[in-house]
Amino acid sequence: MVAPANDTSIAMMHVPASERSPGPIETFVYDDAIVRKFMGVTILWGVVAFLVGLIVALELVIPSVIGYTTASGNQPFAFLSFLTNVQYLTFGRLRPLHTNAAIFAFGGNAIFAAVYYSTQRLCKARMWSDRLSNLHFWGWQLIIVLAALTLPLGITSSKEYAELEWPIDVLIAVVWLGFFGTNFFMTLKNRRERHMYVALWFYIATIVTVTMLHVFNSLAVPVSLFKSYSVYAGVQDAMMQWWYGHNAVAFFLTTPFLGLMYYFLPKAADRPVYSYRLSIVHFWSLVFTYIWAGPHHLHYTALPAWASTLGMLFSVMLWMPSWGGGINGLLTLRGAWHKLTDDPVLKFFVVGITFYMMSTFEGPMLSVKTVNMLSHYTDWTIAHVHAGALGWNGFMTFGMIYYLAPRLFQTGLYSKKLAEWHFWLGTLGILLYIIPIYIAGITQGLMWRAFDQTGNLQFPDFVETVMRLMPFYWIRVVGGSLFLMGSLLLAYNVIRTWMKRPAVYEEPVQTAPALRPERVEAPVFASRLTANCEFGHKGDVMIQRIASGFWHRVWEGTPWKFTFWTIVAVASASVLELIPLFAIRSNVPSIASVQPYTPLELAGRDIYISEGCYNCHSQMIRPIWAETKRYGEYSKPGEFVYDHPFQWGSRRIGPDLAREGGLRSNLWHLLHFQDPRQSVAQSIMPSYAHLIDETLDYDGLTARVKAHALIGVPYGDAVKPGRAAELARAQAAIIAEDIAASGGPAGLAERKIVALIAYLQRLGTDISRPPPTENGLPDTPSP
């Protein structure tokens, strides 16, 4: 595109004198090797994330067909039973691996490829330190490998999208801020272009906010190298977690990808962004608003209603900046729509932005309490996030890779036709994923709340509402497979392109004048008032300065000021929202009869966390008639004050367990864990038979109890050496005897299963107990 002939002169008129003479000319070379590395691993981890997603999707349908027998007596699906009984492969352990791989391995590396490519070019500067670039690259890959090893082993904090244990959390902070952040900000400091393009603003917001979210949500007391307890409990932990969880969506999956959009879309379309003004509104309103939205994940839970309403209001407001940004992206193609027919890069971008707009319309809608009442805990949320993750993050990444591959490998793309195939397979895959899952979500939500004419639940048996979803789950498997196949085509295409690369990459030497150190001079305003009042004159000058927008021009050219105000925006919102919840006691009224878990129950709770039970079972009964009818008395904030971390969950693939205690016998639980289909024929739960064989580490209990005591749980004399194990053994003996007496196997007192049963039998029973006569650990073991 040719600029107007007088473009330079017009621009120069508005440049202050101090900037008109450029600094000395400097030469430099962009570091594209690091971009090639990040792009390569983006594809690799993308394939892994999609494959694990396909496996967990299969795990939800396999149990319903394993027992299928043909007329000739064959069981064609029996070979898949390892997906339901190998402890390292259960849904509860693999689902976090899938989400972490998709968000932080695929999405993360895609962000880094985009940032390293565009930042250098927008700053007209090589990345500040090649060493930091490489430390960042290898450090991040190490984190991913550690995640892939620890999560299937059941080493998890159970906080969604932040499951990794504390040593890996420390590593993340070092790699993210120490290596990535330092390198990025120093590159900004040494840039040769005064104005920071809007993409860089989004990167700044990403780096500072993710640091803040990660550090505060991950605060925990370590027990060992592989185990820690969140310093927050119950309602506060839930609030912290979803403040983090929602803003991980905002500042990991949205802002950096918007930066990517604002940089790569204009390049691919060869058009400047539709409206740079709109991008400014987009940025600030997004940064100011997103940070508040987290509580909409906790509607009708034990979270105080004001927090939930606040989250809803800000979520609804988010619709405006999100669509402003989406429209800004789509209209960038004005006059270039014909290019869409034969450019796969633009195809991916346009569909990606369309999914962004769909998701950001749907998100505010789902945050409205009445809609959320139906959608929460159902597959509706799963469909929503996949529209965003596959459509927006996936397609924007694919578009970027098809744009970058020929440029980075300095040769033509191996096959445009394969890229077209990828586009159509991906699009079809997303649709076949989300449409049936929307139907599944709404179906199950309606079934949970359906009453018959006698006033009883129409579907009292939970598993009935699960069975109804199976056809939709099978279609999802097909959709996911198509999406995975598309990504394999991408991998093949990029590998073949790479094979065509020149023997030595050309490294064009760039030249640009150094930035002069002078700042932009402030315009001088004179008071327009005639009144004889100094205060009035000063006020008028100030108003003119604010209205001139000069201050924002300064920010746009001064990274530290820009970063400072971004931090102020996200931190002040967080503080204003979180402090009242943490500091005001009336938000979490205490219940006298709620006591700490016994050491054995605590051990059971740790097994519950380790197995990832929260991935399928909630522990939060909402004050809704259909729920209290199905599960019992609704959950109170005061019931969770000793829950480090909280286990409310976000999805009910199985029933809620908040009032599970005392509902069934110990033997029932034992048999159910051994083989869920023995107890509930249609159950899709994996088998946990390994818990019957493995022995419980009684000696390690003291450390766990002590860690809880450190964060304020009144454990009394249970912290004394040996006392926790003594109490736990006494309670375990009672449960083991009860199981043996009921006709079950004998000698289970030393096994993990007993601890887990003890925990389940305690759940939700405290509010119906009399308050203890003295403060401290109840010495009487739970039934």
Partner: protein
């Protein structure tokens, strides 16, 4: 007396509501900033930055577009 007793007595419950209005005001402030006509040229130039970065100008100052160099 614990910290939370003091905090509870401070009447912080109104904070989120106040913040809501502060944030709306900031939003309006940003609208005012971008609504000004004077910055047209600077903003147009800023919006074109991604299109000029691959082959930077050769020693004629950092405010000249690549397209102009090749014109």
């Amino acid at each position: 007396m614990r910290l939370s007793d003091i905090m509870s007595a401070m009447g912080l419950a109104i904070y989120p509501t106040i913040a809501l209005f502060i944030f709306l005001a900031v939003f309006i402030g940003v609208l005012i900033r971008i609504g000004r006509r004077g910055d047209n040229d600077a903003l147009t130039r800023a919006g074109r930055l991604p299109l000029v970065d691959d082959a930077p100008p050769r020693g004629v100052g950092d405010r000249v577009h690549r397209t102009e160099i090749h014109r």
